[in-house]
């Protein structure tokens, strides 16, 4: 049964995973996302759905557990925050190269280094441009509400299994920590071993009635390894064709365009309202998939605008993709806060005026 609850984004991730019939979670505590593991341990899903929950000895161990679980055809996931996700990069590259479905959640905090436990979006490059080694991509989903934290767990797994590729929920610390109403989906049954054998004929389940299956990314024959790479690239082109998601608000008739993702897109809604009171028409594009990036949608929304402002909790990362989207034909500027600071709507509106309007006078 669906259920309406009030909870934190991080808690919603845990509840959603159980209800979306997760087989296993492997994670290591780090602020601001420790509630995911805490909630799972408190819910004890091993007694109800049979889901495995394990506090690993490190993020390196956790991602490698996810790699193995994915190779078994299981719906497995991990969650962490920025420094922990850095530790997982080798494992992510292995998962992508072994063509395995897995869900990874990064509730971002401020960096670089140990940085701060407060919110950030500065892992955009790492998530979208391939933080680990080699030519690979992950599907990157950016939730802006607790409801999306919940919904993207199911969406992430669906996409990961459809394309046999890792998917990441890239949330900022605000979405992880804030409390909102959320509609939790009804409980799905976990797949049986027979169903997994049928749906994932590649899965490592013991070679009953078939030839050996091997989960591996190793191929020392140069031509075969090149073929593998070409196959990965074909999958990425398919994903780019089919899976771009974004939300456009007021983009048909606006003077300036704001581009922001995650919780910052919601701050931009307030900016848009405040600007309208002053007679300034703003539109917002909120990329929901950060990879694949909504280049065409932004180009369309940008038609006729006087300028584009990207608002980010970083020094300007997504702005590079927005510039690509409009081929630098329109002026694109960036306003960002760092160190765990979050801009107020006033601040963003003033920045827009400073950067585009007052300057021109």
């Amino acid at each position: 049964m669906e259920e309406v609850r009030l909870m934190k984004g991080n808690e919603a991730l845990a509840h959603a995973a159980i209800r979306y019939s997760a087989d296993g979670y492997f994670g290591y505590p780090i602020t601001p996302q420790s509630e995911v593991l805490e909630t799972l341990e408190a819910e004890m899903p091993w007694d109800t759905t049979g889901m495995v929950v394990l506090q690993a000895e490190s993020e390196i161990a956790a991602i490698n557990m996810v790699y193995a679980g994915a190779a078994c055809g299981k719906a497995v996931f991990t969650s962490s925050s920025s420094p922990g996700i850095s530790l997982m990069q080798e494992g992510l590259s292995y998962i992508a190269a072994s063509e395995l479905p897995a869900l990874i959640i990064n509730v971002m905090r401020g960096g670089p280094g140990l940085g701060t436990i407060h919110p950030s979006q500065a892992d955009y490059f790492q998530a979208c441009k391939g933080g680990g080694h080699g030519d690979y991509h992950m599907i990157v989903l950016a939730p802006s509400s607790v409801q999306e934290m919940c919904d993207f767990v199911g969406l992430g797994w669906d996409l990961a299994f459809k394309y046999r590729t890792p998917a990441m929920i890239l949330a900022d610390g605000i979405v992880g920590q804030m409390m909102e109403k959320v509609v939790l989906p009804e409980q799905r049954p976990r797949r049986t071993e027979e169903e997994i054998r049928r749906q994932c004929p590649w899965a490592v389940t013991g070679k009953k009635g078939r030839k050996q299956n091997v989960g591996t990314s190793l191929e020392l024959d140069d031509d075969k390894m090149e073929q593998n790479n070409l196959r990965f690239q074909r999958t990425y082109r398919e994903i780019e064709k089919n899976e771009i998601r974004c939300e456009c608000t007021n983009t048909l008739d606006c003077d300036y365009l704001l581009v922001a993702f995650g919780s910052i897109a919601r701050i931009c809604e307030k900016v848009m309202e405040m600007a309208a009171e002053e007679g300034l028409k703003l539109g917002i594009v909120r990329p929901i998939t950060l990879w694949p990036f909504p280049y065409a949608q932004i180009a369309e929304a940008a038609k006729g605008v006087k300028g584009i402002l990207t608002v980010e909790l970083d020094a300007g990362q997504m702005i590079e993709d927005v510039k690509l989207a409009v081929n630098c034909n329109i002026e694109v500027k960036h306003y960002g806060r760092m160190g765990g600071n979050v801009p107020t709507p006033d601040e963003v509106l003033n920045a827009l005026k400073e950067l585009f309007i007052n300057e021109k006078k």
Binding site: Y67, C72, Y94, E193, N213, G215, T216
Partner: protein, 253 residues
């Protein structure tokens, strides 16, 4: 008596295990890896676990173990095999799950995964090839390299003041409450091979019985890395390796 009276199926006392594939092994002649592979294939077949065995291959000379042992496998990142095995066994408790790892994989980069999997008492078997060197990357120092031993990165011999001491990690694992069986074996003679086989079988049986983590260390040779002939290697191992890594059970509960 005609030779055909002797060569009959009922007289057969030894055969290639059916799970050992026909693939040409890439191991150097004289290397211990091939012998241990054969034992694993033989034991899985004898236990009737062909359809439910899942191996985890390391990064090291045995990275292609799955090309030789014909059961399902996952190929781990360097050192992470016990983490992979943990997840596989927890998600599929009815399977026989084992790792196969070298000393660099298990006792250097993967020390954390080894200790913690064993400390959690994961119901897995760890097969540990201790050849005191990094075979695959060309013979560099391993954590298990003996003092004075020359390697590519200790060209004048391992020095305690520069490189620390050889690590007897099995002794550490034996201290942990989660391990149930830790033993040190070798495969340089028929008698040793028979003992090693019994040890691996016991480790596999323990993991199916849910007794905790079992680890079988095989003190091994790497004649290419050691720059000795296979025969000299066996002798060198007996004379030098066994002093630091004495054979026998370290724990059996």
């Amino acid at each position: 008596m005609d030779i055909n009276d002797i060569i009959k199926p009922e007289n057969r006392i030894y055969k290639r295990p059916s799970l050992l594939t026909d693939s040409h092994m890439h191991y150097c002649p004289g290397c211990s890896h091939g012998v241990v592979h054969k034992l694993i294939a033989e034991i899985i077949e004898e236990m009737g676990m062909e359809e439910s065995a899942i191996g985890v291959a390391p990064v090291g000379c045995a990275v292609f173990a799955y090309n030789y042992i014909d059961v399902d496998f996952v190929e781990a990142a360097h050192g992470r095999a016990p983490a992979l095995a943990t997840a596989i066994k927890r998600l599929q408790p009815d399977k026989l799950v084992f790792t196969y790892q070298g000393d660099g994989d298990l006792a250097a980069i993967g020390t954390g995964e080894t200790i913690h999997a064993a400390n959690r008492g994961e119901n897995i078997a760890i097969i540990f090839i201790n050849n005191a060197i990094y075979g695959m990357t060309g013979g560099q120092m391993a954590p298990t390299t003996l003092l004075g031993m020359k390697t590519a990165t200790t060209p004048y011999g391992r020095r305690a003041d520069l490189n620390g001491y050889p690590l007897a990690i099995s002794n550490l694992v034996a201290q942990l409450d989660g391990s149930c069986y830790v033993t040190r074996q070798s495969v340089q003679s028929p008698a040793a091979v028979r003992k090693a086989k019994a040890a691996i079988r016991k480790a596999f049986e323990n993991s199916m019985a849910g007794k905790g983590t079992s680890m079988v260390e095989i003190v091994s040779t790497c004649n290419s890395g050691w720059k000795l002939t296979p025969e000299q290697s066996n002798k060198w191992m007996e004379e030098h390796m066994f002093a630091k890594y004495p054979l026998g059970d370290l724990k059996n509960v």
